[in-house]
């Protein structure tokens, strides 16, 4: 499988790397918002996207355009993201262009799903929370947590 795994820098990225064993046998491409060496993480490629959050419309638009080109070029079969907004945009374009898509909400969201997560619930094929009490039948599943 050609997999694109996306996360913003910081805690989201750290959580994505902790899930790396789940796709290590596949053709794995990463995308993130801060500079990472592809050798360091054993990926075929690491793409850099502009950081954005959903409250910054212009940055979000720029990231939406860049992520659309990224997905069109890579044509991943699977898109996975641990957040935040750039990951959501990749999930959106991934789904539009025929990939299966999975959102894993950050463990930092213990009270409710993140804003991106609540949108991902509608956009991604599947959505996971890392908090059992946030799971909802059919829309948000709980399958364990990283911490």
């Amino acid at each position: 499988m050609r997999v694109l795994a996306v996360a913003s820098g910081g805690g989201h990225w750290e959580q994505l790397l902790l899930l790396r064993d789940a796709f290590s046998r596949h053709e794995i491409h990463f995308a993130t918002t801060s500079k990472v060496s592809k050798h360091e993480i054993g990926a075929i490629s690491v793409q850099i996207l502009p950081d954005c959050n959903l409250r910054q419309p212009l940055r979000t638009l720029e990231c939406a355009v860049r992520s659309a080109f990224l997905i069109a070029r890579l044509r991943p079969q699977i898109v996975i993201s641990t957040g935040a907004a750039p990951g959501l945009l990749c999930i959106f374009w991934g789904r539009v262009m025929g990939a299966r898509t999975l959102w894993i909400d950050s463990i930092a969201n213990a009270d409710r799903l993140s804003l991106s997560g609540r949108l991902a619930m509608r956009i991604a094929h599947r959505c996971l929370t890392q908090w059992e009490h946030l799971a909802r039948e059919r829309t948000v599943h709980y399958a364990g947590a990283l911490l």
Binding site: L19, I78, I107, L147
Partner: protein
Amino acid sequence: MILVTVGTQLGFDRLIRLMDEIALHLPTTVVAQIGAGSFIPRNMQYHRSLEPSRFLELVENARVIVGHAGVGTVLAAEKYRKPLIVFPRSAGLGEHRNDHQAATASALAGRQGISVATDRDELERTLRRGLRSELELPLGPKPGPSLLAAVARFVETGELAF
């Protein structure tokens, strides 16, 4: 050595300022990663942003870690089994877009090796206990096997199998 981190992105001047005051009275050096904060510490060594490998090296050498409720900090503290004191940002004070760090902190409070402090007294008291080795150590990293398995299954089949 005590390591203070507020992450590499947002600043967190309230915590850095408090730690700078407390550092003056502590019998050990304090190193801080201050991110984009505007308060410049006088009594601590500080870095704006540390390379991940350098950050982990400091975690490994620290006796106690003080941080915002960031996942990266929690994972690093658990990896090296260092007591972590979490001092959450407050959305009410304009330190974060929402109170999810306070929420994370309360969810983390029951975890072995993690204490939560919300004011100066509590922070200083907990720090001193840490330096006297009176704080519990975290259990060590525990990768979630079921989450990993669920994601692996999704990559293979496009389904989570619920």
